[in-house]
Symmetry: C2
Subunit: 472 residues, 2 copies
């Protein structure tokens, strides 16, 4: 049987200020209405069944993943949680072990959750070819024919000039994995035709992969073998050394086959790469936001705010605007956004962590304004969801319902607060906010008090426990 | 007696998005805590008495001016209102006529409200010299010795190489007024030492000025003479042709004397000029906002938002950030902000008109969020001020007091709503919001309804009538 492992644990910071620690790239809707994770799952339709699609991610992203995968009928138990990110080899190893334990003949399709692919039918065709070759006990990697001498990707050199064929599927043997090259080297690779970009998409039998892992990463293999119960992951994981599957296995294994992709692919590793795929005006400015450009060229604006962005005489620039942070970056320097995020961390700023709008398993909230003794939020509660039964020591809350209707518990009393009605929750009073309807509920909350930190909360009952979920 | 005329009617758009049609440069606090208007008035201390200081401005700025000048003990009647801006000659002419009617020997100090001057004592010294020369029936203009070959200013060529002296005050006769030159010309002027920047600051007798106006602008002179009653201004003003005092009178008069300024002066005509006077780091980036620059040089950030502004590899740029509009502009192109504002007008955008925070005679309000069927505002009411008694056809209002206490009239009932209390004003109900205390009152307002435009208001009583005030 065919299984998919979608790697969705990245905390990539290169799309800051759009991406935040609590909202990394794979969950973002940068292109169209779908997140990268959702697009990745949708592309598997017809190749891998939802019940055999697994998502491995970090603990803290569980509810986000759960919400995004639910519409694809992927069961919650297929969401595998890591307590810490350890790069790709441990993550894939854990999934291979788990799936291999259920199905000895399992073939795994391993896909990063945050890549961009055009032409899903061709993608599926390539994948089916890779599956056929994987059944011959190869570790199959999907290689992308470079369309420019990029320095942003690793390369794979194919070992034989001519493609081989298994059941009419063309493939190459891989000779060498090469790290991101200098521009000079990249130009050489681009010329030679024997080189492919390493896409990070793999297909292999669980058993063969685990065998290769035993050979090339025996320590990791032993650590994974010691995981027998749910609780073990929490104990073992902190001891695991982060290592990529490329560096740990692919560069050593003698069983590598490469199948060329016949679709457009990019890993969208930077704002600049993202800019490439957006429509442009005659002066090469993107036209995807509320922008007024005067004599500007090559200006790429991405906006998560309602603000008008205007430029005069500006060239070759990425502008990324959010309600609490703005980035203005030379397009040749978008790789350095990571450095900026590191600086923010060191300065103990909050802007790298979360947006002013934060997703919650029951919906979301947005901080509109904080002032002396008050804080204003918009709270959105999804259909038939509720917040925890809770209490605040230091703040009172005024709620005005602006759409939908709220079932409010306040002390012993339960009441229905309709649109254009309001209710007051005094300091220290136990309360709960609930949406019993099938339409969303929207509330304006005005908090008053001397201390308004999010940590002033005592939870009594909660539909969404914060604990780590079962793994194996 | 000495009088001051402060020209405060400009609708200058070169500081957009900070300046808006309803909040032009002269009222803005760009440097320190004072507005340009306030600094202009403060600099006159000891030279012109407050009761002889007149402000001429546009009708729509009356309450703004009134609030800013009150602390200087300038009486409200000294605020002269124009129904439309007609450039400097009509404005100065109207004031000269008004003041000349009160005091035949009046000497006028004419000052733009939006310039920047360092060294107030030297400014006063220069002014006193100019007053002495003006008493000899000269039209005195204050000239600034260029410290660079600027193309942003008009120039005055002095007629005689050697300064003359009246009562030990050195002055020159002016030979020629020159418009903003090309860079080549500017370099020539800068070299020659006979040229001064035209600062737009003038000193003259009201009678002499009116005499020169009769000679060189006879039409305007007749129009101003036909103004005898308050109501006449509204009738005559629309017919007046806009013309500057430089073009209309100074370029023709044979009575011009120039006194060199011995203080630092700039008209701050653009973001770039403003950038010049702010402190910089080693890489020439301004350090006046919440900014993180990575490898950027010459980046000048001005912020009226709480947002973090970050840049990577950006050079020679002005970034001006406000809650509803952002400008990213090459520093050599800041003169073109005007063009951008013209485009906004043509596109019927709202961002050139008002800020999300709007001043009102009773305080201010800020629109925080507008959504389907609701709008959230923060309303600040100054000590002992009140809004009009009013009614809305289409919206209800929820008010939460977050600091101070509100005296609320709702229908026939009057109640005191304290901090952390709330009140509901239903649709169609007459109401009034009042701050009877000496501390400011702050309210969070949640409006609900199908139509939430500012024009849904019926006013019954209003402390702040919108009509044009008396002029002559």
């Amino acid at each position: 049987m065919t299984y998919a492992i979608i790697l969705a644990g990245g905390v990539g910071s290169r799309f800051w200020p759009f991406s935040r620690e609590l909202e990394p790239k794979q969950f973002m809707r940068l292109i169209g209405q779908e997140s990268f994770l959702e697009s990745t799952i949708r592309r598997l339709k017809g190749v891998v069944d939802p019940e055999r699609t697994f998502i491995i991610t970090n603990n803290i992203y569980f509810y986000e993943v759960k919400e995004q995968v639910a519409k694809f009928r992927i069961p919650d138990k297929n969401i595998i949680l890591e307590p810490q990110g350890k790069n790709t080899a441990p993550a894939i190893g854990l999934c291979a072990k788990l799936i291999g334990g259920l199905d000895k003949e399992a073939v795994l399709v391993v896909l990063p959750a945050d890549h961009y692919i055009k032409n899903a039918p061709n993608f599926k065709r390539t994948l089916k070819g890779a599956l056929a070759v994987a059944k011959e006990n190869f570790l199959v990697t999907i290689g992308v024919k470079p369309d420019k001498p990029s320095t942003a990707y690793g390369y794979i050199k194919t070992g034989n000039k001519k493609a081989q064929a298994k059941k009419s599927v063309k493939y190459f043997r891989a000779e060498k994995f090469l790290e991101k090259p200098s521009l000079e080297k990249a130009k050489e690779y681009f010329k030679s035709k024997d080189y492919y970009w390493n896409s990070g998409m793999f297909v292999w039998k669980a058993g063969i992969f685990l065998e290769e892992m035993r050979k090339y990463l025996p320590g990791l293999s032993r650590q994974l073998n010691s995981i027998r119960l749910i609780q073990d992951v929490g104990k073992i994981w902190p001891k695991i050394k982060p290592i990529s599957v490329d560096y740990g296995i692919m560069e050593h294994s003698q069983r590598i086959a490469l199948i060329p992709a016949n679709f457009f692919w990019t890993d969208l590793g930077s704002w600049d790469a993202l800019s490439e795929i957006f429509p442009k005006d005659k002066k090469n400015n993107t036209i995807n936001a509320d922008v007024l450009n005067l004599d500007s060229r090559g200006v790429c604006v991405f906006s998560r705010s309602n603000r008008l962005v205007s430029t005069i005489g500006v060239n070759n620039m990425v502008i990324a605007d959010t309600p609490d942070a703005l980035l203005v970056c030379d397009r040749n320097r978008t790789q350095d956004v990571r450095q900026l995020v590191e600086r923010l961390k060191k300065l103990r700023r909050k802007e790298h962590k979360a947006h002013l709008t934060q997703a919650r398993p029951w919906g979301s909230f947005t901080v509109l304004q904080e002032g002396a003794g008050f804080k204003i939020k918009i709270i959105e509660i999804s259909a038939r969801k509720r917040l925890s039964l809770q209490r605040h020591k230091n703040r009172a809350e005024h709620w005005v319902v602006v759409s939908g209707a709220a079932r409010v518990t306040s002390g012993d009393q339960v009441s229905l607060v309709r649109s254009n009605e309001s209710i007051y929750i005094s300091k220290g009073r136990k309360h709960r906010l609930e949406n019993t309807l099938s339409q969303p509920l929207r509330i304006v909350e005005v908090q008053t008090g001397n201390y308004l930190g999010e940590d002033d909360i005592e939870r009594f009952e909660d539909d969404f426990k914060k604990e780590c979920r079962p793994v194996c």
